[in-house]
Structures are given as C-alpha cells and as structure tokens.
Amino acid sequence: MIGYAVRRLLMLVPVFLAVSVVIFLILHLIPGDPIDNLIRIGSSPAQREIIAQRYGLDRSLPEQYFIWLGNVLRGDLGTAIVGQRPVSTMILQALPYSLALGGAALLFSASLGILLGVIAAWKRDGWADQLIMGGVLLGSTMPTFWLGLLMILLFSVHLGWFPVSGARNWQSLVLPVLTIGLAGTALVARVTRVAMIEAQQRDFVMLLHAKGLPRWRIHLGHVLRHALTAVVTILALRIGWILGGAVTVEVVFARPGLGTLLIKALNQHDYPVVQASLLMLAMAVMLGTLLGDLIQAALDPRVRTAMS
C-alpha cells in the first residue's frame, strides 16, 4: 500500500512539471515586458535590476524556467507587487483557511451525498427518490456564488443566524460550507444513486440473496461498498471541482484564502501572486486526486493487486 502511494505520487511529477510550465509562461504570454509585470510602476532602475537578476530575465526562456522552478521549490515565490510582501507568507496565511473550507465542504458533501444517494437508490422511483433527484438537479445547476449570496440574504440578513462574512469563528464556516456543499452533495448523491443501482444488478448480489442474507445487510455490507468504489473513483476526479467551488465561495463571503488571493491578484494584475496561488490550487487538486486513488485502493483489492 505504501509502495502504491509512492508510485502514484511519482506519477504526479510530470503533471506538476507540465502545470508549472503553463503557470510560468503566464508571465511571458501576457502583453508587455515580463519585468513590468513583476514590479511596481515607477520603480527605480536599481530595483528593476534586482528583479531581473532574481528571475534571470537576461537568459533564455528554458533557463528562466529552471531558475523560477528552483526558486519555487525552495519556497521563494517572489514579492507581491501590491503591498510588497513575500508571496510565500501570503500563501501560508491563506492556506489554512482554504484547507478548512475545502476539507469541511468535502466531508459534508461526501457524507450527506452518499446518504441521500443510498436512500434514493433504496426507494428507487419512489417519492423520496424523486424529491432527492429534484434537489440534486437544482443543487448542481445553481451558480455557486449566487447561492452563497442568497444564503447570506436569508440566514445572515433576515434570520441573523450566521455572520455575513469573514473567518473569525466556526459559525463563519457554516454558510460557505453549505454553499459549496450543496453542489458537492448533489454530485455525490447522483453518482452514489447510479452506482448503487448498477451494483444491485450485479450477479453476486443475487447469490447473496440466495444465501439468505437480510436485504439491509446486502445493501449496506456489499452493494454500498461496491458503489463506494465507483463513487470514490469519480470523486477522486471531481475533488478539484469541489475545491474550485471554494475559490468562488471565498470571494462571496469575503473569507481569506487562496481563492480570494487569486481573484484579487487577477484584478490587480499582481502576477507573482497569481502564479503562486494558481500553482497552489493546482497542487491541491492533484493531491486531492491522489487521496481519492488511495482510498479507492484501500476499498478494492483488485486495484491493489493490479498495482503491485
């Protein structure tokens, strides 16, 4: 299992390199001299020289990439144009907030989604199924930010239950998690329902009935476990989407975090911050996918055999 984890981690290296090339190129693809995108307007020639040195801007493009990558791997993400703070500090400050939000949203969507999916499959075509699937359609088609704004209107402004914005206490996490969680729950519930229904039709389920197992044991002990491997596979691919929702929701609720950092930097053309936050988000997606793969291997002996 550890060998498998290490192998999967190594497989991420080329993906990471490819993503880092794209993110590195942002600076060179936007119009204008790269140095102008790395430094405040009106900086002195001496300051420009320091930046040019640091990024190796007089060298060839591949050399510049490796200098940049070296800096990134050492934890040097450059200096923000707006505010002149080290980008690594800004990222480190934002990261815990995003992790808390993403993790809580993931946990919420997975647990509620699986529960609803199981109920919908158990009561297939009954009223509970129709109700859940209707909610799923609504949940997956509402723009996340709009849902967030409506939640603020209802729960914060009218009912006054939760804070409107910020990240001071756990209450401030509730609405953002609900907002991302609704779309996430919809996704998980839909996938679980289909996976449960497909798993119920497998041959071995009939034999379990023939062995005299009670229906609930067949469903919870065998069918659900099967469905979960399918759910985890798809979730592993989709963890990025839930984390992507975190970007939007942070902006809506004015929470500190990577998403807020990225969107603000994009609007302010603060490219060192844009690059760093994109890189962090991409890595979060990759690690999320890896996590999903590992859970899948833990659930399915066939995956373990295929990998060893």
Binding site: R202, D203, F204, M206, L207, L208, H209, A210, K211, G212, L213, P214, H222, R225, H226, T229, L299, D300, P301, R302, T305
Partner: protein, 320 residues
C-alpha cells in the same frame, strides 16, 4: 410419502406478462432432476420462483403451489423464506466469475453461512469453512480463504460457490447451469463432484442445463420446458428410450455422439419465442414438424405417461 419438493401448476407473472405457466414436477431426496430447455424456456425463472427471489426482478408466483418438505412456499413470509435460503435450499449460480463479491475474501463469503444460519462464532464458522473446503478436495484451504475472487481460476471459484451451498447442509440444491461458463475439462469434474455429493449425503439436486448429454449422464429424472410450459417430464431411461414430445425428440437428436461426423451437428430450426410473442395453441407448433390444426388453436393438456407426463396432442409411441 410425499416428495421433498413438489411444484404444481405453477404460474409466474412479471408485470403484464406471464412467462411461466402450468409448471409441475417433483423431486425427492437422493435424486437428481434435470430441468432442460433452450435459453428463454424459463428454466432460471423456475429456479428463482422456488428460491422466492422473483421479487428481485419484479415478478411473483401468481398461481399454483410450491411445496417444500411439507411447507407451502408461495405463501411463506419473507423472513421465514430467508431462513430457508442458504440453509435448507442452496443455490449454485451460472457464472462463477461474477458470483462472488470481488471485494470480500473467499473465507468471509463462506463463513457467513455458519454465522448467519447456525449462530456460530467467526472462529467456529471458519473452522467449518475449512472443513467443507477440504471435503471438496480443495488444496491449501487456508490460503484460499485468505484470497480474493480475482486471484482464483473459474473452476476454483465454482468449487467455492459449491462449498457455500454445502456449508448450509441443505436438503435441496438448485444449480443453474453450473458449468456453462467453465472450460470443457473442468465442466465434467464439477458435474461429477456435484452428483457424487448429492448421492453421498442424500440431498436433492435440481440441475438446470441445456445439455441433454449431461442429463443422460447423471440425472434420475428430467423435466423439459419449452417457452414457459412443461413439455414433458419422465424418468431418465424411458425418456431417452422413447421421447414422447417432439421437442424432447429434437433435443435428444442434438446430442453429439461419437459416431457423429464433424459438421453434421444437428440443431432445431428456429428459436424460442419471446414472452410477449408466445403463439396460441401449443407453443412449440411453429417449430414442430408434426404440427396439425389442433396444435395451432388448442393448448395441449398434460397427460400421464408410464413414468411421467407429456403435453402434446400427438405424443410419440411408448415402449411398453
């Protein structure tokens, strides 16, 4: 004395259609009954009906009776039925490749019979599992118990399925084409193993197959189904000596013999009609070489024969 299993005039409906009707046969301890017919004739559905598993496919027994050891199964509650399944009536399914839960160890899948039906502890159940596997001459039973289905061959998986059936010490085993998915060499082994066990332990075996050769080798009696109706039922020797129903005759003619030259394998022209397209009268008449006007309009009644019944307007001659 009444037989262990008596199916009488059974009718099965699934939604708007009636895929089975007028099915009847008996089976006693120590006996092997072959249930034969082409695909689509209703063999598996008959097995599902006896197992009480029709609701899984949205069907039910809508008429007739299934009596098992004095108990009427058609009116049995689900809980009582569940206690019969896996214990007194065991099932061996068609495709061993897909019959086992791929996510659970072999041991756990057999153990559950012991813990569920005999109230054994896990350790006791495992001891019993090892015992059964050893009786089935499965080498390295302990290692097999720890492995997962995808690590075993098809023949080994089918032995495991048989072990699961035997672990309940059942009175009746229903085996639905237990060998069709296996290699030819393994097929014979598995069939002989099953037949031997049944005789040794005085169990009853309902063997579903489309292979008349297998029937001739190991069954005591045969019930032939065609398009959801019983065509003929008889003891094995009179049936092969003088098949009364034209369909039985055709099936027997299909058995490849040693003297059959290559390329002359016989077949029955046409196919079994779909449930929604059962013809009126005798359902076999479109394919029957001896069909007369009455066959096209009137359903033939089951009439007694020296060792069984036949449902045909013009049954073949009996030899004594």
């Amino acid at each position: 004395m009444t037989a262990l299993l008596t199916v009488a005039d059974m009718q099965v409906t699934i939604g708007p259609v009636t895929p089975l009707d007028g099915i009847g046969f008996t089976l006693d301890r120590g006996e092997i009954l072959g249930l034969v017919g082409e695909s689509g004739s209703g063999k598996s559905l008959t097995a599902m009906a006896i197992m009480g598993l029709l609701p899984l496919s949205g069907g039910r027994v809508s008429a007739g009776s299934i009596r098992f050891d004095g108990t009427e199964l058609t009116s049995l509650g689900e809980d009582a039925y569940r206690q019969l399944r896996g214990k007194r009536i065991a099932f061996i399914s068609q495709n061993p490749m897909t019959a086992l839960d791929p996510l659970q160890t072999i041991g756990a899948q057999v153990d559950v019979i012991g813990t569920l039906h005999f109230g054994k502890s896990r350790a006791e159940a495992r001891r019993r599992t090892l015992e059964v596997l050893t009786q089935l001459r499965i080498p390295e039973a302990a290692a097999i118990c720890a492995s997962y289905p995808h690590q075993l061959s098809g023949g080994m998986k089918q032995r495991i399925v048989i072990a699961m059936a035997l672990a309940g010490e059942p009175d009746l085993i229903i085996a639905d084409e237990p060998t069709t998915a296996l290699d030819v060499t393994v097929q014979a082994q598995i069939i002989h193993l099953l037949a031997e066990l049944v005789r040794e332990r005085g169990m009853a075996l309902l063997l579903i197959t489309h292979d008349m050769g297998v029937v001739a080798q190991c069954c005591d009696r045969v019930a032939v189904l065609y398009a959801g109706r019983l065509a003929e039922a008889a003891a094995i020797d009179p049936l092969f000596a003088a098949p009364a129903h034209p369909y039985t005759q055709a099936l027997i003619a299909c058995i490849p013999r040693d003297d059959t030259r290559k390329g002359t394998l016989a077949g029955i022209p046409g196919t079994v009609p779909a449930v929604s397209a059962y013809p009126p009268g005798c359902r076999y008449h479109p394919r029957c070489p001896q069909a007369q006007d009455i066959c096209r309009t009137t359903v033939p009644d089951s009439r007694p024969r020296p060792s069984g019944v036949v449902a045909c307007h013009f049954p073949g001659p009996t030899n004594g």
